[in-house]
Amino acid sequence: MKVELTVNGKDITADVEDRTLLVHFLRDTADLTATNIGCDTTSCGACTVLLDGESIKSCTVLAAQADGRSVTTLEGLASDTGEMHPVQRAFHTEHGLQCGYCTPGMVMAIVSMLKENPSPTEAEVREGLEGNICRCTGYHNIVQAALTAAAAIGAQEAAQ
């Protein structure tokens, strides 16, 4: 079937099998390979992207369900001038990644989390990441990155 999505601001149309998972559409059809697959039971969150601005697990959404909608992946997060999003920058300064495999999903999950809850407590950040598994970092710096990013976004918005 024909599927049309806007991915990172670009319209992509393709003829794919009905059963095509959104994550495969992004990786194989749109050739955006930052989004990774880490499990087959919707458990790990590595495949997290934004669908119409909300975090979803792209391994458990059909490309067909996302037809006509807008998807943002890690590759689309930086600004047009290449400036990193505050969450990306915070991951860098706080050492929130090691092997990088869970990172795109973590970053997108936190972008969505901070949109819904701009000033989370540490406990809220930790609960908000219950659907994202990391094996390298022990989460400590990921949580710090989320809190740092929240403060940075808050400061940015206050300045505007």
């Binding site: 930052a34 087959d40 039971t41 890690l74 860098h92 930790r126 022990g138 400590h140």
Partner: protein
């Protein structure tokens, strides 16, 4: 001021954070254009003879290029002959598989020995077609009784290798029946401690792509050792020169990606056999069935000493469940035995081991590889002993620590500890955690009969890093005529940040700025000789090699600079802050690296070295875990985790602490929630992430890390390895904390993982015993 020891954020990150890492499944190399996808057909039963394979229905499916079984593998060379060991030979003890009769095939030959064992390989044009076709490959099995536990293995009623006549494939018995060492002990504790089977669970599973073009095989694989992988891949009948192995970005390894295993060898063979590039990326279910797993030891311990807390004797008898194939022979329990007495000066120590086969996933290295098991048990034994003796566990530890003036210290098990200050690490943690205050809080809650009780757990550990110090590591450093530098390392980072760390070493030696240094690893065409990353060896061996090469480059450059200055070599110096060459005492006359390198042959100054060390190093530390146990339900909440982990001088605190954090999480996970389970027929019960309880951010607190730096004399930087230490210290700290929380109710031991039901059951049993 040197860059070493300062917080430097990673050079690896901008790419990983914007365009994402490039793992095997992301590769778009021209050689992989048109690659077929590989899907394995795996055994759904634990122990069976294969009586037939029918691929006809699968072959009719769209997009199927081939269905391969062992019958197709006629173009493999015979494996080299292995002499069976003499009856009186010591047990094979190396991280290499045992030979016949315990050999492991590539695709299963006539029988399967664990659920998930690969039986056939389906090659299709697309991934989606692969799963469809693989379902249709029909394999007939004649089931055999499954050996699903250590006890079943020892009973020997069903044998995995009938020709061997036993399921015990190797052993080193120690003298674990001689009780005389416990004579005169006023307090003796004896019992069983289980160190349960866990999954390594890197977020990227195993993945390999291969292309065979014009007699050359290129293999891209998610590995910790490209060069070792190349040697292993010669099994398909090609010499090393005809094989190139590339490690792209690797999504975690934790020991399970050392070298390559049988599936990757099959993929490389398949690419050669069908003449098309092949790509294999396992699913998580496959990963939880067939990637090697960790731990799986059962310990029988006996510890004895005097009532005042002095430990006189310790026995550790290990049974290693190695799963269906003895990939590491006796290596893991041998290390467990080596590290049995931990940080304590115990006058008499007995350690022995047996390795048994079961119809389960093969066991191999997992973060710590044999040492976490030793620390987990000696630390449990010490707390258990302290509890029986009625002495505070911190006091017992101090009474028995090896003292600083005793180093270098060779333990009764033969481990040559280089340096350590165990009491200082413990004291740091006790002060930072306010141990006295915590004990007071604990007592108040006990007196008040609170439902929620506090538990305080200590673990003082030591571990062995760079166990293969003599193998060393390679490094090549080049300075180019444009003033940039390239570092080629035999180490193989998969998240550890070596590119940043090794660039820091070059900057410190040569003054070339970080953004002008490129670090390359993991490509055997560029780095034919190297060992890789495991055993927490990369900084002490790989980093030392980089430093050694940088110094040789500096020495070579000094000669060139002297020529250019028309001065004596002894009058020339490098300002390693600015990267400028001067005549001593004449700062106005200077040369840049670019100028110096341009004057060298071919505009390149290069040094290619191997660094070896005489012996391994022994980092150490103390962890304190504070937990809350809901005594009505058994549920455990981790409240605080305070550590002092000492791996010598700190090169980059950011990288150091990151390794500690990750290690603590994995260690706590083993204590609290993770376990691989099988039923009595050998069917796996935890083969998806819905059932395997991987720890998440919601279960963990933020960690409180303290600094401790005791150098080693074994390398110029004085550094040891931190990669596995966090895991080793965390497991027993959490384990002891939970038991401590309910010890006042009479509980003396609970086996890991301490699920709510396990804790609650222990409380109920203690109540019954008290009546």
């Amino acid at each position: 001021m040197s860059i070493l020891g300062t917080r430097v954020i990673r050079t690896e990150d901008p790419r990983l954070l914007t365009s994402g890492g490039v793992y095997v499944d992301d590769l778009r190399e021209p050689e992989l254009a048109g690659a077929v996808r590989a899907t394995f057909v795996r055994s759904p039963v634990a122990h069976a003879l294969i009586t037939g394979i029918d691929a006809s229905a699968a072959l009719e499916q769209p997009g199927v290029v081939a269905v391969l079984t062992v019958a197709d593998m006629t173009d493999l060379p015979e494996p080299p002959p292995v002499e069976p060991p003499a009856d009186d030979a010591p047990p094979a003890e190396g991280p290499v598989p045992l030979g016949p009769p315990w050999s492991e095939p590539l695709l299963a030959v006539d029988r399967v020995r664990f659920v998930g064992e690969p039986v056939a390989l389906v090659l299709t044009d697309s991934t989606y077609q692969g799963e469809d076709a693989a379902e249709l490959v029909s394999v007939d099995y004649e089931q055999l009784p499954a050996v699903a536990s250590i006890d079943a293995a020892l009973a020997g009623e069903s044998l995995l290798y009938p020709d061997a006549g036993t399921n015990v494939c190797t052993q080193g018995l120690g003298e674990c029946t001689d009780d005389s060492i416990f004579a005169g002990c006023e307090v003796i504790v004896e019992g069983d401690v289980v160190n349960q089977r866990v999954a390594c669970l890197p977020m990227e599973g195993r993945s390999t792509a291969a292309a065979f073009v014009n007699g050359k095989l290129t293999v891209w694989t998610s590995t910790q050792n490209a060069q070792i992988s190349r040697l292993i891949l010669t099994a398909i009948g090609l010499p090393p020169e005809a094989i190139r192995v590339v490690a792209p970005d690797v999504g975690g390894g934790f020991g399970a990606k050392i070298g390559v295993d049988r599936e990757s060898i099959i993929i490389a063979w398949a690419a050669k056999h069908v003449g098309r590039p092949v790509r294999w990326v396992e699913t998580r279910s496959e990963n939880l069935l067939a990637m090697t797993q960790g731990r799986a030891q059962r310990h029988h311990i006996k510890i004895g000493g005097s009532r005042d807390g002095h430990i006189k004797a310790y026995r550790l008898d290990v049974i290693q469940d190695t799963g269906a194939y003895a990939r590491m022979s006796g290596f893991l329990p041998m290390l467990t035995n080596l590290m049995a007495p931990g940080v304590y000066d115990i006058p008499a120590v007995q350690a022995g081991y047996k390795v048994v086969l079961t119809n389960a996933t093969p066991i191999a290295a997992y973060r710590g590889a044999g040492r976490p098991e030793a620390a987990a048990t000696i630390e449990r034994a010490v707390d258990w002993f302290a509890s029986e003796a009625g002495v505070d566990p911190a006091v017992v530890r101090k009474l028995n620590f090896i003292q600083p003036e005793q180093f270098p210290f060779v333990t009764k098990t033969g481990a040559p500890y280089d340096t350590g200050d165990y009491e200082a690490a413990l004291d740091k943690v006790l002060v930072a955690a306010d141990y006295e205050g915590l004990r007071e809080q604990q007592q108040r809650r006990r007196d008040a009969g609170d439902t929620r009780q506090l538990g305080i757990g200590l673990a003082s550990y030591v571990e062995i890093t760079a166990a293969d110090a003599g193998a060393g590591e390679t490094a090549k450093v080049e300075v180019h005529d444009n003033g940039t530098a390239t570092v080629y390392t035999g180490s193989s980072a998969h998240g550890q940040g070596h590119h940043t760390a090794f660039a820091m070493i070059v900057t410190a030696e040569l003054g070339i700025p970080m953004d002008k240094i490129e670090v390359i690893h993991g490509d055997t065409d560029l780095i034919p000789d190297g060992i890789g990353t495991y055993a927490s060896r990369s900084l002490q061996l790989g980093g030392s090699a980089v430093q050694k090469a940088a110094i040789e480059v500096k020495d070579e450059a000094a000669r060139k600079a002297a020529d250019l200055f028309e001065a004596a070599e002894s009058d020339v110096e490098l300002d390693s802050e600015t990267g400028m060459w001067h005549i001593k005492g004449d700062p106005d006359k200077s040369l840049t690296w670019s100028q110096v390198a341009s004057a060298a042959d071919e505009g390149l100054i290069v040094a290619n070295v191997r660094f070896t060390a005489d012996r391994p190093t022994f980092p150490f530390g103390t962890h304190l875990s504070l937990v809350e146990v809901d005594t009505e339900t058994g549920k455990v909440t981790l409240l605080r985790h305070v550590t002092a982990d000492d791996a010598g001088p700190v090169l980059n605190p950011i990288l150091l602490d990151g390794q500690r954090h990750g290690g603590i999480a994995q260690g706590a996970a083993q204590a609290l929630c993770e376990e691989i389970l099988y039923d009595v027929d050998g069917n796996p019960l935890t083969s998806t992430l819905a059932d395997y309880a991987a720890i998440t951010a919601a279960e963990l607190p933020s960690f409180e890390l303290l600094r401790s730096e005791t150098p080693t004399p074994l390398n110029p930087m004085g550094v040891k390895g931190i990669g596995e230490a966090g895991t080793i210290g965390a497991t027993p700290a959490v384990h002891n904390a939970v038991i401590d929380a309910v010890s006042y109710l009479g509980v003396r031991h609970i086996d890991m993982p301490m699920t709510p039901e396990r804790v609650w059951t222990a409380i109920q049993q203690a109540k019954v015993s008290a009546q």
